[in-house]
Symmetry: C2
Subunit: 335 residues, 2 copies
């Protein structure tokens, strides 16, 4: 391993001079600068970030904690977080919690032990203690995909309630009345979306039906079985909303199996645009979330906080978009 000492020797200077050249280059003569750079080049020297981190108590690593990278929403977000991090020479630890509190807290320990510069956290609804934990550890944090009551925390989220409201309204406008939803129970976004749905229902004088609005684990399988229950009941809805991509796939499978005709027999819409939603038969109406913006903004906020922890916390709300497609267009009925 070639260390700063080797470079110093090769360049005929002291190690602190090398360090100086490599960090900012101030107060160093051009001559020395050149010699150092030449030596670095010749020896293929790369500073040891572990040593840097230990000594300076800073690091170039951030943690990204999400429920499941296979959830298309998080896949997209994590991609964009990584892009933004890469542009800043930062590495990212990716962690899947599966919405398990114990995994989440273990990962936070890990992040702490690795002395990460900051954490981007997509919390489950039980994450209150996790967030406090991170704060007590004095680790800069930005929370994504959720609004946090504690005003001193940076956060980026989308207009969940408004989006769900908009989507429900869209269904109503297309003639659907008996609207059901399968809602991810692990995340807080689920609750917010639920609120948007019942608000739209309420404003249109439709009584909320507990049976039709279901909180389930955000997995394909739960989406499937839950939809099946809905379909097989004598209280069958005429439209269904799935609050994420996994649930949507499960619901779709159930429709297939029961040979439900969409959009005539049943309207269908979901959250999260993926490469497949537009290609289904029929194409699915979705709420598209601004994942790229979300990822980049999260990194931006985090770096801000890291660079100056005294910076006031910011709260950024991003707008999602309704993409109307065939799956909610009742026969001939145009909006």
């Amino acid at each position: 391993m070639v260390g700063i000492k080797d470079v110093a020797k090769a360049a005929g200077v002291s190690i602190s001079t090398v360090s100086r050249v490599l960090s900012n280059g101030e107060y160093v003569s051009d001559d020395v600068k050149e010699r150092v750079h030449a030596a670095v080049e010749a020896l293929q020297y790369r500073p040891n970030r572990v040593a840097q981190s230990l000594r300076s108590q800073k690091s170039q690593i951030i943690g990204l904690i999400v429920a499941d990278i296979q959830n298309p929403f998080f896949t997209a977000v994590s991609r964009y977080v990584q892009d933004a991090a890469y542009e800043n020479g930062i590495s990212v630890f990716l962690c899947n919690t599966d919405e398990k509190a114990d995994k989440e807290s273990q990962y936070i320990d890990l992040m702490h032990e690795e002395n990460v510069a900051g954490i981007i956290l997509a919390p489950t609804h039980q994450s209150h203690s996790s967030i406090n934990r991170i704060i007590n550890l004095h680790i800069p944090v930005v929370v994504i995909d959720r609004q946090v009551e504690n005003t001193s925390i940076d956060s980026v989220y989308i207009d969940n309630t408004a989006a769900a409201y908009k989507l429900t309204l869209h269904l109503l406008e297309n003639g659907y009345r008996k609207i059901s939803a399968i809602i991810g129970s692990g995340s807080t976004t689920g609750k917010l979306r639920y609120q948007g749905i019942i608000q739209a229902l309420y404003e249109n004088n439709i009584a909320a039906d507990k049976f039709l609005l279901r909180f389930v684990n955000a997995t394909l399988n739960e989406g499937y079985t839950s939809t099946l229950e809905l379909l097989d009941s004598d209280n069958r809805p005429d439209a269904l909303i799935a609050t994420n991509g996994l649930l949507a796939a499960g619901a779709f499978r159930a429709f297939r199996e029961r040979k439900i005709s969409i959009p005539d027999e049943m309207g269908f819409a979901c959250f999260d645009e993926t490469i497949w939603t537009a290609l289904m038969d029929p194409p699915i109406t979705v709420i598209s979330q601004p994942t790229q913006d979300l990822g980049r903004t999260a990194v931006e906020l985090l770096l801000n906080k890291i660079n100056d922890p005294s910076n006031a916390a910011r709260e950024v709300m991003l707008k999602s978009t309704l993409i109307p497609r065939e799956s909610t267009k009742r026969n001939g009925q145009e909006k």
Copy 2:
């Protein structure tokens, strides 16, 4: 920050004793052990991995370098790699190269600077120098998704050629003759799959047609435009193979747009099972790759190498599975 010193003081022992208790616990009296553990508990002490890493020249971090986490194959693999890593108390850096050589090499530098314990690399076809680089840096590495000529490297890959052969045969057996393919050009798996395809063609006395077998960038858009070209030519194929999920989605979009009826007018199959493939209309025949096995095996091999670098390199080939569905079943024609 609470350090080992604080624990030592609280337990009334020296720091080396604390270290000993925490590392293996050998040669320490039960009494002392208890006191140390109590102090650790009381102070909520967590060892600083950065210091550990610097001092011991080991680390608990591995790097995972893939082309694009949004490629469903890599999404799945990375999830399973992370699961396996988590079970071993290891963190993972995730890096997307977009198949760009410069990004790949920058990430390798980064991994080196962060002193990672090892790297799991899904190489592009230009990765030869990257691999050499990693080896020169003495970083344990396992290559996934590709067979490496250098026999001293651990690798896990699937039977790409055989899978493509099997898939092509399936198409032929279902009465398709003019078989085309859009093949990801960035990865080496593409070439292997190409070989499987032409082998099947050759054995069935079908002349290979350069026009029909195309190497393209593994993106949705290239899949789309390339398929469009195929469809609009006067040399239109009667079946298409897409060698990954992104290309498949692009192809499907093209079919939609040209209102191609599948499987009658055109047979269609692709690599990579996702939650959507079975839900399309018609359901798509796929080659399902053993992503979970791949991820876990990669971690296993890597840990082996890390624990004892003198271990002989192993090469593991995993079998993929053909899942026949409607998209390759010509009207009434049963295999």
